[in-house]
Assembly symmetry: none
Homo-oligomer: 217 residues x 2
């Protein structure tokens, strides 16, 4: 048995041996299965044997830990891997939702006129006559709010607030975007995502605090 260190890549059996100490119930069949699910992508030798590197072992460790300690489903682990290990191309689907008007009404469980109202107040707009995931979520949420007597016109303020926050993000990110360097867009997206998370978090905290005083304590 040649040491796996020397060759820089390992066979599936060697990988198994490496991991088995830490994760007693990993098996060859499981590793193959994980490849099938697109979680790892080992190279192949001319004759078809899988060739693993240390990176792959790292990834497997990540997967197995996520399963064992955080109970995450593979689908979610896959997404997280894209973040932690960076897109190994494949551009990740995300299962685009694209509904037409009738489908949206159906899926969100709202009336035509509610939708019209929503569009009037700018809470939601189709892109190329189609509604995406986010639009569906808006429609559903507004539907639920309507059951409390809150109609679109009450929600204009929410839209305005969202717009102002977007403005804040835009303003911060603009210089990066302008600098037409390669990778600038990716960087801007990253920053925008991070900023918006923070702003949403702040917003939520403020609302919760405000509410507590409304309810007396």
């Amino acid at each position: 048995m040649t040491s796996q260190a020397a060759r820089s890549h390992m066979s599936i059996g060697e990988v198994l041996a490496l991991l088995q100490g830490e994760f007693p119930d990993v098996t060859i069949s499981k590793i193959r299965f994980l490849e099938g699910e697109g979680l790892i992508e080992p190279e192949r030798s001319p004759s078809g044997f899988r060739k693993f590197t240390h990176l792959h072992v790292e990834q497997l460790r990540f997967i197995l830990t996520a399963q064992r300690d955080h109970y995450l489903p593979l689908r979610v682990i896959k997404d997280k891997m894209a973040e932690s290990f960076g897109r190994p191309r494949a551009v990740q689907q995300k299962q685009e939702v694209r509904l037409d008007r009738a489908e949206l009404l159906e899926a969100a469980g709202i009336e035509e006129e509610t939708l019209a109202e929503l569009e009037d107040y700018g809470l939601l707009a189709p892109v190329a006559r189609r509604y995406d995931e986010e639009a569906l979520n808006v429609a559903r949420t507004v539907g639920a709010l309507a059951r409390f007597g809150l109609r679109a016109r009450h929600l204009r303020a929410v839209r305005a607030a969202a717009e102002r926050e977007c403005g804040l993000v835009e303003q911060t990110v603009a210089p990066v975007l302008k600098r037409r360097a390669p990778g600038a867009i990716g960087e801007a997206e990253e920053t925008a995502r991070e900023l918006s998370t923070l702003l949403l978090d702040l917003h939520a905290s403020l609302v919760r605090t405000g509410l507590r005083s409304v309810l007396g304590r």
Copy 2:
């Protein structure tokens, strides 16, 4: 149909109605299933109908959130529930945070002057000279935002927006609160929580959508 408010306990259908806004795919059969799995234990009427209280609704919310947002298996959720809800009273956990000024600065990793700014702009205020969990979160978040060049004065709009949303909730809940019936407070809290969740969700959706167009798709 009598309002669920008056009776302090609800039928399974009423519980369903309460939750469906926030969790569109909860069903009666699922609620029964969760009882079968030992996650909730509603009382029964003499004729065998389930009787739910606000606590049960709270627990269901906990379960559904854990599933949806953290992908936890029921088995694990059950364990967590024992911690969060288990053993009624048991000295009120939730581990109240009550920091003084210095501790807050330390914990949030911000400067005295940043905090002063925050208080000036009404983003945060001590209660009886102490800062709670939510205040800490605000301070921390603002600290992170500051690293992107966003200072308290940029965030006034966020505060204003949060206040307006609180107003919306207050307005909706006010009639219930006034009606000084027993259980009215619990019901109001329940409604307020639900409304604010929906509003925050809506807000987040709008921000994400807006951001996408800022970044060009």
